[in-house]
Structure formats: C-alpha cells, structure tokens
Amino acid sequence: MTVHDHAHHRNYVKIWAILLALLVVSVIGPMTGIRVVMLITAFGVALVKAYMVAKNFMHLDIEKPIVHWTLGVALVLMVLMFAGVAPDVMKHEGRFWKKTAVAADTSQGHGRTGAGHGDAHH
C-alpha cells in the first residue's frame, strides 16, 4: 500500500475543480446551437472527465498493467458487440425488405431534428 504514498502529492481538490469546469463546458456546448460543437463538448468532455477520474481518483496510472489490460479488454468487447449487432438493429431497409414500424417512426421525427443521423441508413 505504500505504493500510493507518492500518489497523494496529487491535489484532489484541484482535479475536482477541473472536473466541474469541464461540466460547465459540456452544459454550455448545446447553447451554441451548433450540433457538432454540442457533440464534441458533450462526449469529448465525458471522455476527458472519465479519464481524469480513472487516472487521479482510481489511481489507475500507478496500477499494475494487468489491470489496465483487463479493463481495456472489457471496453473492447463492448465495441465488438456494437460492431456485431448494429448492422441488424440500425439498418432499417435493404434491397428487398423494410422495417415498416421503424420507417413510420423515423418519418415523424425527421423534420424537427434536421439531418438526423444519416449514416445509420446505408
């Protein structure tokens, strides 16, 4: 446990303050009205915050490599799951077929949100 002694040179309050500042950024982002900015601030900030909590609060940076690898594998599995499932769930029509229930649903929503997520439809 003495491995952690040097880690307590960290100023946890300072890190907390940065996290709060990032939170403010992510809330302000949507107010610009520009979709790309909103997405970057929302999810970019989330990634940075998660990284900071993991590194500074969970002390993952001084943890043994086996822990990093194991957690990393779990995250990769979620990407794998997305890759394997998304073609079936996100695709709404093909050459000879169409998900009628979804088509009805998305046509209602299209106007309000503008372009929507075009890359979901191949």
Partner: protein, 568 residues
C-alpha cells in the same frame, strides 16, 4: 464463526476444534469444501429433475399421445415447457454449478495450497443466491400456467408476451431465476479468479498450477466478461413481460433481434465456460492415469486463452437464418470455422499426452477417454453448422440437437463423472467401487451414442426441433423415422436405469466404502498431500511448492510420481 475480531491472519489449520452446530457446519458454512458439496449436490438434484423432463418428452416423441408413466399425457404446452426447462436446468443448474462452482470451490484452494477461498463469506452468499435461483426455477414449474414454455433461448416476442407463450407467470419467474443464477456466478467467479491469481502457495508460479485450475479461472473470466449484456437483456425482457415496455417490440421502437444478439453474445462464450472446466478435469485425470506429464502444458494454456478470445467473435452463428445481415453471416462463418482449430489442437495435445504413457484404465480414466472420443464427434459436427450455407438446412433441426448433446453430454456428464470418481476419495475419505464404476460407465456411454446418432439421422432427414408430435408431418411420420425416435427413447431409458448403479455406488461408498489414504492415485498435485477428506483449514502446515504438477516418470526418480511439495 463464533469470533468477530479483525485479526488479519487465519491461524493455518486451526483444525476446526471449536464445535460447530449442524447449521454452522452444513448449512451456513463458509468452508470452500462444504460450499463445493452444496453446489454439487444441488446440481446433481437439479440434474435428476432435468433428466426426468427428458424422459417425459422423449416418451412423448416415441409414443405420441400415450400416457407417460409418472407424468400422464403430455399436452403441446407441457411439451414446450419440458424442453425449455430441460435445457435451462441442464446448462444453468447442473453443468455450471457442478463443473465450475463444485469442482472450482473444492479444488482451487486445495490445488493452490490455500486454507480457503479469499472471500469465504462472499462464497457462502454466492451459494445462497444460487440456491434461491434454483428454488425460483423449480417454483416456476408449479405456478399457474406451469413452467416457462418459450424455449431456453427465450426469443421475444414469444417470451415477452404471455398471450403467446401461455406461461406468463412461469416466464417471469424463469427470467428472475436466470438473473439470480448469473449474479451468484459473478460473485463466485470473483473468488475463483482472485484466489488463483493471488493466493498460490509459496513457490507456485502461474505455470505450476494444475490445468483444471487454469481452465476454471479462464472460464470464470469468460463468464464475467460475457454475461453483462445478457443481464441487461434479462432486465429488458423482464420489463417487457411485466411492465409493458417495448424493448424487443418493433411496433414500440424495439427490435427482437437485439435480444438474440444479447443472448448469444453471452450464449456462445457460455459453452466454453462449461467446456473449459471439463477439459481441465480430463487433462488432470489423463496425466495421472497415463503416468505422464501433460504434453505441451504452456501451449495448451495459450491455446485455450486463444479459444476464449475467439469465442467472443462467433456468436451470430446461432442466428444465421434469423434475418441477420448476410455479410455478417460471412464474417461469423469464418470465425466459427477458425475456432475449431484451437479446439482440435487441444484434442491433439491430449492425445499426445496419452501417447507413450503407461495407461491405467481406471474408471476416471475411462470417462476421460470417452470425453475425448465423444467430444470429437460433437466438435466435428459443429463445423457443418458453422458453415452458414449448410446451416440454412440444418438450423433448428435435430442435427443441431445431436451436435450440442455430443458436446454438452461429455461436458456436463462424462467429465463430471470423471471428476467425481477421481476426487471422490479426497472429498469423502473413501474409495468407490471400481466394478460398479465400470458397469455404470459402459451402461452410460453405449446408450448415449444410441440416443443421439439416430437424432443426427433424423435431423438430416429434416426433423424440426421443438415439435411435440410428428405424426401430422407426412414426410417425418414415416415408420423408419419413427423407429429411430423409438430407438433413441429406449436407449435413454436404459441409460437412465444405469444411473442407479452410480447412485448406489456413490451413496454406499460414502457410507461404507473402504477408507481412502491421502494419495490413492499417486498424483502429484497438492490436494493429495493432505488428509482424505481435508480438515477445516486444509493443512496443519501450509505446503510450499518446488515444481510443476506433472512430473510423472521423471528420469531422476525411482518413483513414477513427484509431488509438488516434496523438498528437492
């Protein structure tokens, strides 16, 4: 359990001198060996229920419409409930508890030279949750409407809508039982992994650990990494069943294929979760009764790790005709055929272990050899199914049923008998009867093949699964095919009859069998260096390890074995 002080070190082998009450010793024990017994006996009891279900539905298939002795006439709804619960019980309440929690709990601390698991109270909690899950599942069979009848794969909308499956209460209880079982095994897995990783005896490096420990640990890791999405899916299904949500209802913005993916993302690694402990048991039994070191131990470990990794990439081969993207089907065919390579390699490594060995055909060894032979058939027939083109025909036929019984039966039954007959002396301090063991062996293996080879033929003839009466299908109602069904059922009856030989042998040996010494099989691993059965705390003086577990017939030794803890 009478003390509550916070002293961090357990006194090694404090030998249980404080008198434990019946409840402390048998019901609320935190001792890994007792918890192992609890899991094993619960699993064996559930196995009897699952076997009874198989008896009933096979009788219905062979003699449709007849009254089944001990059950009555089987209605279509009851048939569906029987096949659903047979599958669910055998996988979740027999294979997993006996192979992983039973053998894992018993063997890991002993083989690693520990006095117990690292978290004994979490261990006890895991069994209690598991027991609760078994109670819920059995209860589901007796509620109004009967047990869940939507197949063990529980695809929505059938599983989500009571109006369709006709067993709304049973369906909900089934989901709850499965979810509880998952949580129990997550808790148990923490103990297996952490104990094996951290608490090995001094001198025991990672590759000094017996293969069965590696296998159970890797299996636990696979389970922990794969069950999450299905837990998520189970919550969603439960809500669809009871709260009117539409997670899997396309008319409500959901997608039934999502369930299939969530189920099989777990479902495929799950078969390796149960396969690996079985492979581990077989490896250790083979090494002892070939008096030979395990061939290419490290290669085997790496191969199995590769198999585990690959197992996450093959899941949609269960969904080839479900309407998935055909380009994904191509991908999954390639990965599925690829995964047969490390498995085949493992089989070759085992055969290489036997080659040149001094083979002792004891009962455990017979079971281990049978595992190899039967599992090979299962594996090879899987390749037909993994090829998406062939699967278009074979999917949902009895070919699939025969394939997975040729894999599951070796896993859940053959390997379990190998393990039980091998470790019985250590667990109960007595020897089982070899003659009865061999009679049981042949009386199980021969009928097993006579049950499932006909099912391959029936499947190739187009016999669809999950149909309770084929007499209305003219092309399947032909007398030659019905004859095959009858052969399968009669063989099952014979096989079930022979299980009484095992039961008798098991119980009688436990009570009155000849006393076992510490190491009747002359094995190297640590569990054989303590008393049979081991005391609370396992050793009076904790062992120190000096070598690997497979030093059999070492040239420098007169004896043909070299225990791990013997000083050099």
């Amino acid at each position: 359990m009478a003390h509550a002080h916070a002293e961090p070190h357990g006194t090694p082998g404090h030998g249980g001198h404080h008198e434990q009450t019946f409840f402390q010793k048998y019901i609320f024990s935190t001792d890994h060996k007792m918890i192992a017994m609890q899991y094993t006996f619960t699993g064996l009891a559930m196995g009897m229920i699952g076997a009874f279900m198989a008896y009933v539905f096979r009788m219905q298939l062979a003699f449709p419409g007849s009254s089944v002795p001990g059950f009555g006439v089987v209605s279509p709804g009851e048939y569906n409930a029987l096949v659903t619960n047979h599958g669910s019980i055998m996988i979740f309440w027999v294979a997993m508890p006996v192979l992983i929690a039973g053998f894992g709990n018993f063997l890991i601390p002993l083989m690693c030279g520990c006095d117990d698991m690292v978290f004994p109270r979490v261990n006890r909690l895991s069994y209690q949750l598991f027991f609760l899950s078994a109670v819920v599942l059995v209860a589901s069979l007796f509620v109004q409407g009967g047990g869940f009848a939507g197949a063990w794969t529980a695809y929505p909308p059938l599983s989500a809508v009571g109006k369709y499956n006709l067993t709304p209460l049973g369906a909900t209880l089934w989901v709850i039982a499965v979810a509880l079982e998952f949580v129990a095994f997550l808790l148990g897995g923490i103990n297996f992994i952490t104990t094996a990783m951290n608490s090995r005896a001094p001198g025991m490096k990672a590759f000094d650990v017996p293969m069965v420990v590696w296998m159970i640990v890797i299996a636990s890791i696979l389970f922990m990494a794969s069950v999450g999405p299905l837990i998520a899916g189970a919550v969603m299904l439960l809500f669809d069943q009871t709260l009117g949500t539409g997670f899997f209802n396309p008319g409500r913005g959901g997608d039934p294929i999502l369930w299939q993916h969530l189920f099989w993302f777990f479902g495929h690694p799950e078969v390796y979760v149960v396969l690996l402990p079985a492979l581990g048991i077989v490896a250790d039994v083979m090494a002892v009764f070939a008096r030979k070191k395990l061939f290419a131990y490290r290669t085997t470990v790496y191969t199995i790790i590769a198999t585990g990794v690959l197992s996450f990439f093959v899941w949609a081969h269960h969904q080839f005709i479900a309407g998935i993207d055909p380009r994904m089907a191509n991908v999954f065919t390639i990965t599925t055929v690829l995964i047969s390579i490390p498995i085949a390699e493992t089989c070759f490594l085992y055969i290489a272990t036997l080659y040149g060995g001094s083979i002792r055909l004891t009962t455990p060894m017979l079971w281990a050899l049978a595992f190899l032979a039967e599992f090979l058939i299962g594996g090879v027939t899987g390749i037909y199914l993994g090829a998406s083109g062939a699967d278009i025909y074979f999917h949902d036929t009895y070919f699939v049923v025969a394939h997975f019984h040729y894999t599951f039966f070796p896993i859940a039954i053959i390997a379990v008998f190998a393990g039980l007959t091998f470790w019985f002396p250590k667990m109960f301090g007595r020897m089982m009867n070899e003659t009865l063991g061999k009679i049981h062996f042949w009386g199980t293996i021969i009928p097993f093949n006579l049950i499932f080879i006909p099912l391959f033929i029936l499947g190739a003839a187009g016999e669809h699964r999950r149909i309770f009466d084929y007499s209305t299908f003219p092309e399947l109602a032909r007398p030659e095919l019905q004859a095959l069904r009858i052969i399968a059922t009669v063989s099952l009856l014979v096989m079930l009859a022979f299980q009484f030989v095992f039961l008798y042998n098991f119980v009688r040996s436990m009570i009155a069998g000849p006393r076992a010494e510490k190491n009747p099989w002359k094995s190297n691993t640590l569990e054989w260096t303590t008393e049979s059965p081991p005391p609370h705390g396992n050793w009076v003086e904790m062992p120190v390890v000096y070598r690997g577990p497979y030093e059999y017939n070492h040239p420098d030794r007169a004896e043909d074995y070299w225990p791990q803890n013997e000083k050099p």
